[in-house]
Symmetry: C2
Subunit: 280 residues, 2 copies
Amino acid sequence: MPELAYVNGKIGPVEEAVVPIEDRGYNFGDAVYEYVASYGGRLFRLEDHLARLSRSMAGLFFPPVSIDQVRDAINELYRASGIERAGIYLQLSRGVDRRDHPFPKAPVPQLVMTVRPLKEKPAHLRKDGAAVITVTDFRWGRCDLKTVQLLPNVMAKQQALDSGAFDAVFVSDAGIVREATSSNFFIVSGGMLMTHPLTENILAGITRQVLLEIAAEQKIQVEERFFTLEEVFAADEAFLSGTTTEVLPVVTIDGNPVGDGKVGPLSEKLFATLRQAAQE
Amino acid sequence: MPELAYVNGKIGPVEEAVVPIEDRGYNFGDAVYEYVASYGGRLFRLEDHLARLSRSMAGLFFPPVSIDQVRDAINELYRASGIERAGIYLQLSRGVDRRDHPFPKAPVPQLVMTVRPLKEKPAHLRKDGAAVITVTDFRWGRCDLKTVQLLPNVMAKQQALDSGAFDAVFVSDAGIVREATSSNFFIVSGGMLMTHPLTENILAGITRQVLLEIAAEQKIQVEERFFTLEEVFAADEAFLSGTTTEVLPVVTIDGNPVGDGKVGPLSEKLFATLRQAAQE
């Protein structure tokens, strides 16, 4: 079957999968999520996704959830799908209760998933690189938690598309470049990789972490530090990293070229190395 | 029947009301809401709630929704409930579509409601006033839009309860007192009312507006301006305003008394006048 949904233990068609209207994910955005990709029939970095899911839940004071059961459920759904290159979306809400701000007394987290063939990014985007716009970061203060508080991300992504760009990059009031709407952001300068340090303002991306590991193995110097848009324009390369973007070169920002405005060699090399690691 | 739900035209038991797992309200918090109270069998300020609903939808670039149909649906549900003093929760999401950040091509907004007896605030809270705590405002930048991006509100409310307080008041990085987790915030100083001006950082509360109208009628001076916590402690009175809080005196903040730490006369008078206006 090409697409499947999972709701609290039951697997079935996506169109028939429902949740109660008083699921707190629906009324308050009181839910966390993960998106896991498979390569060649294997879920890539599943344990890292599960570890982050735990951290997100702990950050929101969710009741204890068995990660072993979540892992089993993901594997069960993935096996049932029979899809070699799949994307699994997983959402865990705090529970269902009469709508009221305080945490419910005895919440039962709800696990909802979908599995589908993963749609690859268009070849021209990988070849020519992406245009992005900048948007002042107007998200909430806990972007380190992977929650469904995603309306600012949705609005910024749509604004990017409306202006002919691929994505938007959030820049702080103080001019610090943070991350894109669903990807982390890297620059390459003098052969060195730079990316925003892990704070409450960005997500600890799994792909970001994999790239830092690859850089360590390949003796590529890395600095996790704050940098401005001016530093990005002065850089040699820039790219987005994420589960579906993988390593996606950014060639213009707000219409102005990054470096020479072409896809750079380190971005290409890191994409190839990441793919290799994922397919091993 | 004591409690009812409405989902896209169908009225039934709350427990049976469901939405698809790919409703954007569930995956992205891409939904707006209102909460309307009835007094003596009449919905209070329904037109103001509908007008704000329109503004919230416009702010998110929702497709056009017929406010006449929404009004009819609310009235239909309210009549079906037969509840004199009710609270109607109404949520409109952008629509249902395969999960992806960009707006769907042809979204159909989903209307979901519940109606229940409104639970009055405890008598002791109204009589003795409420304790609140302060929390640095970590919400997103569009709190003027009444969306379900409410996780920071949930967390701050729970933090307040955990510390024995009734609610939390969000204070900006620069020390400006904004509003509570689901109420606006007023102070009284030398017989004058003060509240935060309408910016993107607070909700344009309906009760806030009613109170400003009452103040104008009663020749009470009003200033909509920024003020700090220091100014709150130096004030004579403070109170929360909202559809369910109505006018709720705040007597301590972070354990320190506001004014003499007792419920003040203007707070009491405004509560009585608001109730009178609502019941007329």
